[in-house]
Amino acid sequence: MEEIVRAEGLKKTFTLSKKQQRIEKTGETRRVAVNGLSFSAYRGEIYGLLGPNGAGKTTALRMLSTLIRPDEGDAFLCGHSIVKEPERVRDVVGFLTSDLKLEGFFTPDYLFGFFGAMHGVEKQVVAERKRELFARFGIDKFAEVPVKDLSTGMLQKISLVISIVHDPEVVIFDEPTNGLDVLTAKVVTDFLCELKAMGKSILLSTHIFSLVEKLCDRVGIIIDGKLAAEGTLEEVAMGNLEETFFRMYRERKGEIV
């Protein structure tokens, strides 16, 4: 199998503000969000990072998409280092997260063209992909409606198609079905399977067991910024993913709540 993503000892620490220290009633000034994370993802597979809120999933994905730099370690996407060649990495990655917003004033049609140009995609190719993806997600009817006037589900679909406007080799989705109704969530998960069938590598983070069981070929369980387990779904789940996860969590944290 061709290795597309390789993370090597990624570490990320954040400084806690005085306000955060007060809220969390802690005297510590630094917090380790991701601590020596290493894993690999291969071509044509869906890799799931499973963990509770605050485990470091989003931070790990933000490092892989070059939005933030690791304090230590490195990762290679299609052979490009996230530390040394962030711009090359951005050309092979499509990143979807709720933190990245679209300007409400513009229409989906305009934004697709704009982000196509931002990734250096030829106008003709952009037009072709727009026609194809807008029809696939039912966006074509809303192509000229300002984004601010669209529903949450439609907005998520638009964010999704814009994140892959440049036909990236690696698709990174942070909690892709969060806040979506069941119908839109199904459209998104079906599309992830389509991307996989097209030979793309998909990394997704989630805390939803059923989503991992339904989509992922391989899974990494992340607790307190460290990888607690990694392998194929069968290897990690050992019959029941949910039970295995809670057992691991108890072993590391001592309690569930």
Partner: protein, 368 residues
């Protein structure tokens, strides 16, 4: 291609939103209407008190007093002993005018003459002159009035404009730059739409230039609108005629435009850098407000203390204010203006570099 796409986006955002266009151009129209209105009011309803040096006597003096008192205006007659001192008093605004009747003045006599020396830069003095001439014509005077002014028209206009206009221009440039830049940089950062651009493979320097260039062009429109509003209404506000504006050469206008052109991107870059550092539009507005007050105060100081030394050329914005003063006084400070242009461009480049660094900093862009 990416830089062009970024620039097009900013232009598209502005020119497809009528509200933004109106917000940008309206100040100029409002300033024109407001200043013109204030000028009309200010120069129509005053109760005036005149001090007039009088030489000779005539029954006309009583008619002048009577006419002025009908408008509740008062006149104090002072004996004309030293004409040079009296002229100086009129020029300095301490007296209104000098009124000279010939000896044994007879309104219908062959040798009669009336001389009036007034300050054409003073509204009161000009008003007094118009009252006296109307009365003399009204009573059937058969000889011309020998009127003399103490200042050249253009000199008065230039004096007032050179003091006020540069400061006002800088203020209006600042407001125009503020309205678009805060929204485009701090607004996009606050809404999370800037992060979506940062995750693409566009260079940070292109993203910085993709903001500064179009925002400068857009701000230029607003600044020019405000500039025209002020320039066209100022004479009315000051009680002057528009005619002296034509007294400036084409080069004066070109130099003025060059100075404005160099000041706009500098201010846009400064506001963009402050906006990138801020977490919200509100925070950026507060910081930019302080910056604006600082700029305004120094512009006022520069405007009214012209002898500040050549070191001012090295200070961005203020060098432009000093150069504009020179232009409006009728000088052609080519060297100072070009120096200002160069220095402002250097500072702009420096600020674009700083903005690029800020856009690359995850602590600034994504820090909570």
């Amino acid at each position: 291609m990416k830089l062009i796409a970024l620039m097009k986006k900013e232009f598209h955002r502005f020119f497809h939103d009528p509200r933004l266009i109106i917000t940008m151009l309206l100040p100029g129209v409002l300033i024109f209407l407001l200043y013109t209105f204030i000028g009309e009011i200010a120069h129509s309803d005053d109760r005036r008190e005149f001090k007039v040096y009088l030489s000779g006597s005539s029954a006309v003096v009583a008619v002048i007093e009577q006419t002025l008192s009908e408008n509740e205006d008062k006149v104090e007659w002072l004996p004309l002993e030293d004409e040079e001192a009296a002229r100086a008093a009129v020029r300095d605004g301490e007296a209104t005018a000098i009124l000279k009747f010939s000896e044994n003045f007879d309104l219908f006599g062959e040798d009669a003459s009336v001389g009036i020396i007034y300050d054409n830069g003073s509204e009161d003095s000009t008003y007094f002159y118009s009252v006296v001439s109307s009365i003399l014509i009204g009573v059937g005077m058969r000889f011309p009035i020998e009127a003399e002014t103490v200042k050249e028209d253009a000199a008065i206009g230039a004096e007032i404009l050179s003091g006020l206009l540069p400061m006002l221009i800088v203020c209006f440039i600042f407001s125009a730059c503020m309205s678009v830049t805060l929204e485009s940089v701090a607004g996009e950062k606050e809404r999370g739409t800037l992060s979506t651009i940062l995750v693409t493979s566009a260079k940070r320097s292109h993203i910085a230039l993709g903001k500064i260039i179009p925002l400068s062009c857009i701000s230029m429109l607003g600044a020019l609108s405000s500039f025209l509003g002020v320039a066209l209404s100022m004479p009315k506000l000051m009680g002057l005629s528009l005619g002296f504006l034509g007294g400036y050469s084409v080069w004066s206008y070109i130099l003025m435009l060059v100075l404005i052109l160099s000041t706009v991107p500098l201010i846009v870059s400064a506001i963009a850098a402050v906006s990138a550092l801020s977490r919200s539009v509100k925070e950026a507005s507060a910081y930019t407000g302080v910056l604006m007050i600082f700029t305004m105060v120094l512009s006022i100081v520069t405007s009214f203390l012209p002898a500040m030394g050549s070191w001012i050329s090295a200070v961005p914005i203020f060098n432009a204010v000093v150069s504009m003063q020179g232009i409006l006084k009728g000088e052609l400070p080519v060297l100072t203006s070009l120096l200002s242009l160069g220095i402002n461009l250097v500072y702009t480049a420096l600020l674009v570099f700083i903005l690029t660094k800020l856009l690359s900093s995850e602590r600034i862009m994504f820090g909570k």
